[in-house]
Symmetry: D2
Amino acid sequence: MSAKTINVALIGQKFMGRAHSNAYLKAPRFFDLPVNPVMHTIIARDLSSLKKFADRWGWANATTDWREAINHPEIGLVDVTTPNNKHKEFVLEALKAGKHVACEKPLAATLDDAREMRDAAKKAKRCKTFVWYNYRRVPAVATAYQLAREGRLGRIYHVRAYYLQGWASSPDIPLIWRFDKEQAGSGSLGDLGAHVIDMVRFVTGDEVEEIVGSISETFIKERTIPSGVGGAGIASGAKAGGKKGKVTVDDAVHAIGRMKQGGIFSVEATRFATGDENKHGFEINGEKGSVFFNFEDLNNLYYYDATLPVHVRGWTKIQTSVPGVHPYQAAYWPTAHPGGYEHAFVNQAADMMRVLGGEKPEIPLPDFDDAFETQRVLEAIELSAKQQAPVKLSTVK
Amino acid sequence: MSAKTINVALIGQKFMGRAHSNAYLKAPRFFDLPVNPVMHTIIARDLSSLKKFADRWGWANATTDWREAINHPEIGLVDVTTPNNKHKEFVLEALKAGKHVACEKPLAATLDDAREMRDAAKKAKRCKTFVWYNYRRVPAVATAYQLAREGRLGRIYHVRAYYLQGWASSPDIPLIWRFDKEQAGSGSLGDLGAHVIDMVRFVTGDEVEEIVGSISETFIKERTIPSGVGGAGIASGAKAGGKKGKVTVDDAVHAIGRMKQGGIFSVEATRFATGDENKHGFEINGEKGSVFFNFEDLNNLYYYDATLPVHVRGWTKIQTSVPGVHPYQAAYWPTAHPGGYEHAFVNQAADMMRVLGGEKPEIPLPDFDDAFETQRVLEAIELSAKQQAPVKLSTVK
Amino acid sequence: MSAKTINVALIGQKFMGRAHSNAYLKAPRFFDLPVNPVMHTIIARDLSSLKKFADRWGWANATTDWREAINHPEIGLVDVTTPNNKHKEFVLEALKAGKHVACEKPLAATLDDAREMRDAAKKAKRCKTFVWYNYRRVPAVATAYQLAREGRLGRIYHVRAYYLQGWASSPDIPLIWRFDKEQAGSGSLGDLGAHVIDMVRFVTGDEVEEIVGSISETFIKERTIPSGVGGAGIASGAKAGGKKGKVTVDDAVHAIGRMKQGGIFSVEATRFATGDENKHGFEINGEKGSVFFNFEDLNNLYYYDATLPVHVRGWTKIQTSVPGVHPYQAAYWPTAHPGGYEHAFVNQAADMMRVLGGEKPEIPLPDFDDAFETQRVLEAIELSAKQQAPVKLSTVK
Amino acid sequence: MSAKTINVALIGQKFMGRAHSNAYLKAPRFFDLPVNPVMHTIIARDLSSLKKFADRWGWANATTDWREAINHPEIGLVDVTTPNNKHKEFVLEALKAGKHVACEKPLAATLDDAREMRDAAKKAKRCKTFVWYNYRRVPAVATAYQLAREGRLGRIYHVRAYYLQGWASSPDIPLIWRFDKEQAGSGSLGDLGAHVIDMVRFVTGDEVEEIVGSISETFIKERTIPSGVGGAGIASGAKAGGKKGKVTVDDAVHAIGRMKQGGIFSVEATRFATGDENKHGFEINGEKGSVFFNFEDLNNLYYYDATLPVHVRGWTKIQTSVPGVHPYQAAYWPTAHPGGYEHAFVNQAADMMRVLGGEKPEIPLPDFDDAFETQRVLEAIELSAKQQAPVKLSTVK
């Protein structure tokens, strides 16, 4: 193991708190890194559950006093996994304290918050910032990026970004926290859409020029309030005679637009695609080649090479869990012993350590500046849906 | 064979002329019909090629005089397969003459033409009209229709209609007739989009309420004029130093909108989806179930039944070429000896004969009234793209 | 249409009688042939149904007197589609009469019959012989053959031939004719296995050296005798209290062996693979490349090119219904408007006409000599299963 | 975390040493267990690399003295991951010392060794034994087991177990340790075949009755000796002019046979299936239903329910990474955030802890007695290949 280390303070102990803890635990075991993360302090509001969490995952300290923890002189990196509308406060404090910052996606719940965070990051010149658009490090996505960089797509015509879940399509699903804007920060657009917008910006290297049309829909406007209020996750069927409350987020968003380099694109995010569990990814059609990715089949990239002779041309299923295909697999297991959901987080933790150790990862990491661009797209999509009119990205600053 | 017959006059000897000839040839051989079609007269402009065509396919007569042929007292059914902008003239003449009329899709090149044709059909009370939206009779599409009628989808949330081809994505493809509005009548929207709009109207039983946004794009604005001008089909690479001419149709169209019963939908038609040869169909997500169809896999329907126990729930690949699944397979071959592209035409020819014989086919046939609704959607998509604004269908009459 | 013609006498009006009638009807319409088939005489035992059949399909004459019909001076080609155990009698008569002969597969029900037929064909030097191993002309299979001929597979290691149906797996299926050796001629081995053995011999260009082990199994030994005895096709559930009769054919066969050039192979044929409707084809793994084909997905060939760079290597789905990929599609419809089951018959009828017109088809046709080799493999598989011991092909003559 | 713990001594630091270390590290973090594993001592021959390994993975002690370590009073569980021919020595010592034992698969390199180990385990009544047939805990395999237990397959007709890799198919691959029986213990049969034999015994609940035929093949008999002898993994292309050495293991094995309850089965294991990276699993066809599993698509199980109405019947892709489908996913991430290769090891480590804590895991663990049955099948396959004759399992004791 490397001699250099950095102490991490992690805020949040829910789904993402676990995913990041697992990433810090595993990254130095599988990768040889210039700097190793040390699981120093875990921060959250409920101390009793936090102690158990710290014990389970190996965090040396647990505290509810986030301000003190962030400013602790031993801490080098602050990692924020709270709901989107809480990102700003923690991030600004960490940057002020001169810490490197990692933040869950999307950067913020509003464009104003995101702008403030980006500007603070610009000023804090010695601080590195990272945003957990971790899907860039799914092997198949990293491979798509590399094929595009090799010039294998050529001029890009069509970009389709989609994130299709179906869990909310039954009216029997009660009013859990994810349907509440206050608690969740955003609906399908921020939760799901943000990921795939980042992915297509990343793979194409192109930016959105204009949102031409956008639909934001809440199919089921009211749901039964669950008996155990505030339950995390999908509660089972609501009680008979239960009161109803309003759904305050979007169930689905579908927008179309134009890319700067002349392609047209589409973004879909929904929780009502019955039958799709976690189907997200992209279809990108270029002059010389095309790529297709679907997270439900996360270890494979589909590639069409239009330059091959016609009688051997077709969609090729590239197993990206083969060493030599992408830059992470060799760290884990032999050929085609594939990884799962969590490995993209481990890969990102490893690459963050590389950046902090002065190295340049093969697959670029998104910083606040980069994530702000995705935030502008989210804003333009919302605006277009609200105004029922096209929105040029140049007007969203 | 049945004793009753009807004499057919077919206009056009190109791609659709062959497809319909084959359909009339085969329908009475595979199906027991109340009325059998007789291949009486083939009509087109070039008599020399027409004689060969008639000989090959068994048309008893061949003529260039369409007016005389249409009005011939022996003719019972006039079938029109010319370019879209020529449909009206032939159709009106046939209706005036009191003939039954079948017309290729889309009904017309413009909404005005389509309206005139629909109105003429309404007046000609004794004439049956048919439009060749033949994909309704692809076994997998017919099966989707039947599952929807059984109530297996429930409230519909998402409708995606797509028609993805990639043949035009290279700038080396010369300026063939398909890129010329004058000759082709329409670009990807009329050629491809019309089919899938009909399909989703048919399967969902719902209608479009509003186009919220629409993009119509010509990616490659100029192409080299091929040496042999007017070549049908895709000519090989253009000559060096060849002159360039303008592409006057759309290469791709993508529109989003709302359905009357509350779902949201998307229509995509493109010739620039490199890698996709003839990928068209639909994804429809409902409360109780979902269906997915792709013509490149034309004998299978994918169905998700959300009412099954969770541990056996998933997308089911239904082989529709099994007798008992859909209403046409039994006429052909034993189980899972599947059909191809042409069989949807044969099935439609058979069902047209059933209607003319007073029977009601299990799968409804589109008449002019029905096809006019699809034409309104095409018009709204074009308008929305031109005006860069939402268009309510109620304003398109 | 071509001026030259040949008069065909077809024996049999069941499944294959229809398939061949359709092939003769369509071949000259889609292909430009040096000789066109004329549907002269249809021969079968039941004259009343035969008249209807002739009327429906356009056979000029219908007769029960097979000997007279075969020897009729106008007849040029005799085509035999009766049960396997009846092939010999008709074929020998036709060869004696100096006619060209086409025979359904397998060549015969026994090796002795097949040998006699092959020898008669050898003597009848002016007669061409054909066997309806029609799957060679499925576009994907023809493409596999061509890739192999280009040297894209290299030394072949593994050959898997499989034919998996599931229709007989329920004990409720009654004792239809297919379970009776007397009526059917053979069980799964002759009915299904013969096809895939021919396919792998054809694609690899290699021959079987030895059967190392073989299992022949009848899972359900007795079935209820259906009320309407002798029903063709799968009758619905048997009556309660119905008498039982013996199944006298194999339900499934699985054999393994060695190829002459050093590969190992496996042949599976079954009617008990519940869930598989008509899944048959091959997997062939070579040093430089591999191919995979499954008839349930008949328009696609899967090809792996081991000579490509590792990061773009994978199984490629080649849509063979693209003109330029295989030698038949251009005759039918534009790109990726695919064919179905029946088109392989039409393609074979067309190629038979080419041979009779002195041309050499791009995809070789199997003659009696070729089909006799497949028969030897069937015999060796049966022998090995009976003797429970390896059988060298050199001992089966 | 639970108060109870057990100290583990792990022998081996190669591929499996890492996989097991990762399993012990993660199991108590994701699962609530009655006993937690403590990573006490790692044992291997090379002390210098071992220290680094122990440091990286968190083993408290590292030693080359296996005898002392095994007998250390603090150790409760000994885990053996050495080559197969070394299993016996360590296992017998551990059982003698009264320790619980976990052993990598297959149980041993020979049936004699395996028998001795099984008998020793029987005598050591207080010792629990486990064999790492970890694929039983891949979610899709566990789901198949549960569907079978629910009676959803009915009488089983066909069992196909396959393990297809292609990495060795090029003659340019040098003579690495895996081609050397001395170093590797076995070729494709023991390395690959053992896994899938265990899987089908597990899912069907049935045992092999007889091997009817078996082929064991070494396609490439000699390979170039790599310059750096003894390299683990696949070395790059051999040097020109390099000396050649003999391959002493099988490249591929294919056997067919009969199951006790009347089904027929097939086992294939190969490293020469060019194009297949790590394709292994099973096809099981029963009277009422069928299941299909392929590790290259490890989160999905394909299931056919023959009891559904015909028009909605088909192969269903069950996403097993949905909580409620199988008994492990809930421990990790929300629905359809799937696991990878390593999770089957974590699941097994968790279940071993449950057994040691007196609980009964939902999915049974294989002990030495169970693994001995798989060893008998391996032996019968080898014998049949050697003798070129059928081998009854009852003769292999």
